[in-house]
Amino acid sequence: MQEIKRKYVIPGDKIIEGNYKPLMNVVKSGNYLVSTRVGIAEAGKDGVKVIPLSGVYIPRVNDLVIGKIIDRSSLSWDVDINACFFAHLPAQDVFGRDFSPAKDDMGRQLSIGDLIIARIVSFDRTRDPMLTVQDKDLGKIPYGEFIKISPTRVPRLIGKRGSMIQTIEQATQTRVIIGQNGIVVVTGRDPDGLSLAAKAIKLVEEESHTTNLTQRVKSLLNVQDPEDPEQPESMNVSSSTELSSKQPQSSTESSTESSTELSSKQPQSSTESSTSNNSKSGSTSKEKHRNDNSEKSSNNGSNNDPKEKKQE
């Protein structure tokens, strides 16, 4: 294992002297590597990076984000994804390639104010982010409790391999959808569970930099067993199907296949055949998203939590 030196830094602080590779939030100044953000610097053999503790969300390709539809043109929706740019969701993405602005009514699928979970398919210095909902578990979020947290706290809320969020979900009997952009939606039947989950999420946000956070969250949620085994699948299934029953139906074949598990309660014959194995795939795909997010964040400094490694 490589040796890692960590220290607290603010902009302008010299992290290390020598011929290291600047990775994230680090610039070279003379023979020194200098931090550009407030955060925790990590110097390893492969390079030097600073895990920031503050900042707005900067979109990245393949990020899963939760956004609000704020406007509609004849060919796309504008989505507020809590970043410095509004994202675009092309109507073709929802209606399929044969979308016609004259024939299809965009308001039937998504209207202004709707919340969607989407993936960023493209973004660079010259263009605004482009979204897609053509994937498992993506699309309109019909209902839920909306919570906004700092995007830098997202990896901490997810926890290592989704541990933190699993704890919250299990203890409160809710489902928590997390966007990399710091928007969280909690769904569930029990209002007490919802408010408890919201309280736990706020606790994670406020105290993300402190040690023993997992224990404090568990004590807030009255969870006794520190090492909880796998999440019970039944809970996930009910919440995911519940959520999916109001998902927008896709008309194309390609999208039908990807959204089968989301639309399990839709009266469409093509989807019925696949509903039998929903229970497994529903939870695994959710897990996959979280693991994706968690891994991505740990690879990329901009949304990482500094003390995740240290505390877990």
């Binding site: 603010i10 902009p11 302008g12 503050s54």
Partner: protein
């Protein structure tokens, strides 16, 4: 007559400070919940609140730059910040200070990281006592760091001036009005670069060098306070990260 009121025979200034002494400085980070970054500074009797928003979408859109971020700065004095009511409309002085503040902060920011976006810095002076532009720059720099904007260095600012033959550090309102020269300086302490240098008054070459040197030494003292304020917000009183086994 003038010297007598500004400095006594023991070398003490009108407010009891020595010639190399700063006023008391207190910085609090993250005071405006709705802003992306914010800071409140008490620099002697100056009380200033700074809020930073961004990077965010530029409105009007034609102001956006394709290769970098736009920095907008607004320095404003509240009507109640001075002894006689100040008209809240932007004055010539405020427009000018907004400009010099923006130009002093710009070199510290890596604006090319956020093309087509804007960063807004709002500096609101709640109470003014001379040197408010320096205090504003100090708070704005901390607020920008709090907003998580990529910066090469913090910006620290401090003024120096001349009272008769004495070059003094950090001049206050009375010394600004009655003194012989006032020189605000903004400085990047780690990069050792000056980003703002203004001079109101007359100095000889030797006095100018001494004044600049003194202002820079003041900036370095201010930097330590800025650093401490940021560290306190993000890491508590822990200045060093303790490695776990």
């Amino acid at each position: 007559m003038k010297e007598l009121s500004l400095m006594d025979e023991n070398g003490k200034r009108s407010d009891g400070r020595g010639i190399d002494e700063l006023r008391s400085i207190n910085i609090t980070v993250g005071v405006v919940k709705n802003a992306d970054g914010s800071a409140y500074i008490e620099f002697g009797k100056n009380k200033i609140i700074v809020a930073v928003y961004g990077p965010r979408e530029v409105h009007p859109k034609h102001m956006a730059l394709p290769d970098r971020c736009v920095l907008r700065c607004r320095y404003h004095m509240s009507p109640f910040s001075t002894d006689t009511r100040k008209n809240p409309a932007p004055s010539r002085r405020e427009v000018e200070i907004s400009k010099v503040m923006r130009e002093s902060l710009e070199p510290s920011l890596i604006l090319s990281d956020y093309p087509r976006a804007v960063i807004d810095v709002f500096v609101e002076v709640l109470q003014a006592d001379g040197g408010s532009r320096c205090a504003g720059i100090n708070a704005a720099s901390v607020a920008l760091a709090d907003a998580g904007i990529n910066m090469r260095d913090l910006v620290s600012a401090c003024a120096a001036g001349r009272l008769s033959e004495n070059i003094v550090l950090d001049i206050n309102d009375l010394e600004d009005k009655e003194g012989d020269a006032d020189m605000p300086v903004a400085y990047l302490p780690n990069l050792e670069q000056v980003t703002l240098l203004q001079l109101d008054g007359k100095l000889t070459t030797a006095q100018f060098s001494e004044c600049l040197e003194k202002a820079i030494s003041g900036c370095k003292l201010v930097y330590e306070i800025q650093k401490e304020a940021l560290m306190k917000k993000y890491f508590g009183n822990e200045m060093e990260l303790k490695e776990e086994a």
